[in-house]
């Protein structure tokens, strides 16, 4: 991987400053920067072949249809799915809501159970609470191990024949462990539960093969993987998508309806795509996927692992830093500067030009587990460098002087 030539493709990584310092971006778990070619692909749609999709009455529309279908195909190949198993949404949150409302609300009963964990993002907790409210089912938590990781053993202990849905992140947004998803899915299927995977923090960083993992649903967001905002994906096994109700109804998803209220819907994925789609977003996400594929997801994962290891070792050498997920594999390090409130630490880093996130990171029920009110989250992507980590470490050393940010 040639980091220098990769970075040159990102306008946000070129000559940007913050607080008088070169901009260093370590909030990639929140969103990622975009390479120029993603923006150009989207502009191409707006500048050269703008039309709506799904009709094909004229040449221009036919071109747009083909580009939109090609985008779906590119994304399907990326996770080893079939094209018809890829549904466009506005992002991972909408994806999970689609599954919860379209499948959960339809099939769960008061005798059933949904299993989640304490480390899930709000978007993989609250939709299931809504399903509980509507259907009367239970939502229970698989205990994490001492380190904060979800293990197949704990899934096996928690699961029962009451369990209809196991909804978990492949990589969580605070703890960032890589779980044995294939084994966990096997255990869930043994008990007749479907496995709904939040891939927002995994698909951008790891090779993902939905067939190999044998998972039932997967959701992810474009903007966390060099794509645009406002576009995301639900992957679903085709037979499950057929059984799932549309989350939204409207134009472009029905085959006919009458004044009595009878309506028939198109087949998946189209039955989930009511209204004009985010065509530029889909095309931009497909371009991002091509970009990631050219670099190689294996290379990306290996590089991020090295970067993480390097950062953890340097942070461990600092007496004023406490790490909460030292043994995790993902490119997220959750920590605090001792004696400094998380947000004050983040402001200190801001004053050095470094972007990190402080707070509860939308995983508010994890805070009980960690036993701290708030943490700072450092998260890398493949365009970060070892030199940027060094600058981050230097800034941490003076974390106790956080009020310098206001008076220096």
């Amino acid at each position: 991987m040639d980091i220098k030539s990769i970075r040159a493709q990102f306008p946000m990584l070129t000559n940007k400053t913050m607080q008088g310092h070169p901009l260093i971006y370590f909030d990639n778990a929140a969103t990622t920067f975009k390479p120029r070619r993603v923006l150009e692909a989207m502009n191409d749609y707006y500048l050269n072949y703008t039309a709506n999709t799904g009709r094909g009455d004229y040449d221009l529309e036919h071109i747009t249809d083909e580009k939109f279908a090609a985008a779906r195909h590119t994304i399907a190949r990326f996770i080893n799915a079939d094209d018809k198993e890829i549904v466009f949404t506005s992002g991972a949150s909408m994806s999970i809501n689609l599954i919860a409302f379209g499948y959960g609300n339809k099939y769960l009963t008061p005798d059933d159970e949904i299993l989640i964990t304490q480390a899930e993002h709000a978007s993989n907790v609250l939709p299931w609470f809504k399903v509980r409210e509507t259907t009367g089912c239970q939502v229970n938590f698989v205990p994490l191990d001492k380190q904060g990781k979800l293990t197949p053993e704990n899934v096996a202990k928690a699961i029962s024949n009451k369990t209809k849905v196991l909804a978990i992140a492949h990589v969580t947004n605070v703890m960032a462990f890589h779980i044995d998803l294939k084994e966990i899915a096997r255990i869930a299927h043994e008990h007749g539960a479907i496995v709904v995977v939040d891939g927002a923090q995994s698909v951008p960083h790891l090779p993902t093969d939905v067939k190999e993992l044998d998972i039932d649903f997967l959701s992810f967001s474009g903007h966390k993987m060099c794509g645009p905002t406002g576009i995301g994906i639900v992957y679903g096994k085709y037979d499950l998508l057929e059984k799932t109700d549309p989350f939204m109804t409207g134009g472009g998803m029905s085959t006919g309806f009458d004044m009595c209220g009878d309506a028939s819907f198109m087949k998946p994925p189209h039955k989930f795509e009511a209204g004009t789609q985010n065509i530029a977003g889909a095309i931009g996400l497909a371009e991002a996927v091509k970009f990631l594929t050219e670099i190689g997801m294996d290379n990306i994962a290996a590089y991020e692992k090295k970067l993480r290891k390097y950062a953890v070792e340097k942070m461990k050498a600092l007496p004023n830093v406490e790490i909460y997920n030292e043994t995790a594999e993902g490119g997220i390090i959750t920590f605090n500067i001792k004696g400094v409130f998380a947000q004050d630490a983040a402001t200190h880093l801001n004053s050095k030009g470094i972007c990190v996130r402080s707070g509860q990171h939308c995983a508010k029920i994890l805070i009980d587990y960690l036993g701290v009110v708030a943490t700072v989250r450092f998260s890398v992507y493949f365009y970060n460098t070892f030199e940027e980590v060094d600058a981050f470490i230097d800034a941490l050393k003076t974390g106790g002087d956080f009020l310098d940010a206001y008076f220096a």
């Binding site: 409130f341 947000q343 707070g359 009020l403 008076f407």
Partner: protein, 140 residues
């Protein structure tokens, strides 16, 4: 004391950080969407005078210290005086003209604009107090 010492002192030893007993307090819950800050502001108003002001909850150094300083400033003031102090504080935070004489120790937050992302922290308690005072007008 330097400005940063004043902030650290109020952060480590906040004044009036307590939940008052008694039903004669007006209170407001200030829960920031964008950060962890989650505080209650309490005020007792008798005959148009702020006779007590307190706060409690979880907050960063900037919001703890700014709210602590605020409680010191508001206790003993009339509603009108308290509102004037808050108005000048808000003006200072937003780089507008203000009267430093009115603000006492609160002037240590004059540089908040340097870290614009933290304006919410420096004003969360003050906004709460302002809302409470606003409420008193409707019930006069």
């Amino acid at each position: 004391m330097t400005m940063r010492q004043i902030i650290m002192d109020h952060y480590e030893h906040p004044h009036n950080k307590r939940t008052p007993a008694g039903s004669d307090y007006l209170s407001i819950h200030m829960d920031s969407v964008s950060c962890v800050d989650n505080i209650y502001v309490y005020m007792k108003v008798e005959n148009g005078i702020v006779t007590d002001c307190a706060f409690d909850g979880v907050a960063c150094a900037i919001s703890t210290a700014s709210t602590s300083i605020m409680t010191d400033l508001l206790i003993g003031k009339t509603i009108t005086e308290a509102e004037t102090i808050i108005k000048h504080y808000q003006a200072m935070i937003h780089e507008q003209p203000y009267d430093a004489e009115l603000l006492g120790e609160a002037i240590v937050f004059m540089n908040t604009h340097k870290q614009a992302a933290r304006i919410k922290c420096a004003t969360i308690g003050w906004n709460g107090a302002s809302d409470i005072l606003e409420h008193t007008h409707h019930h006069e």
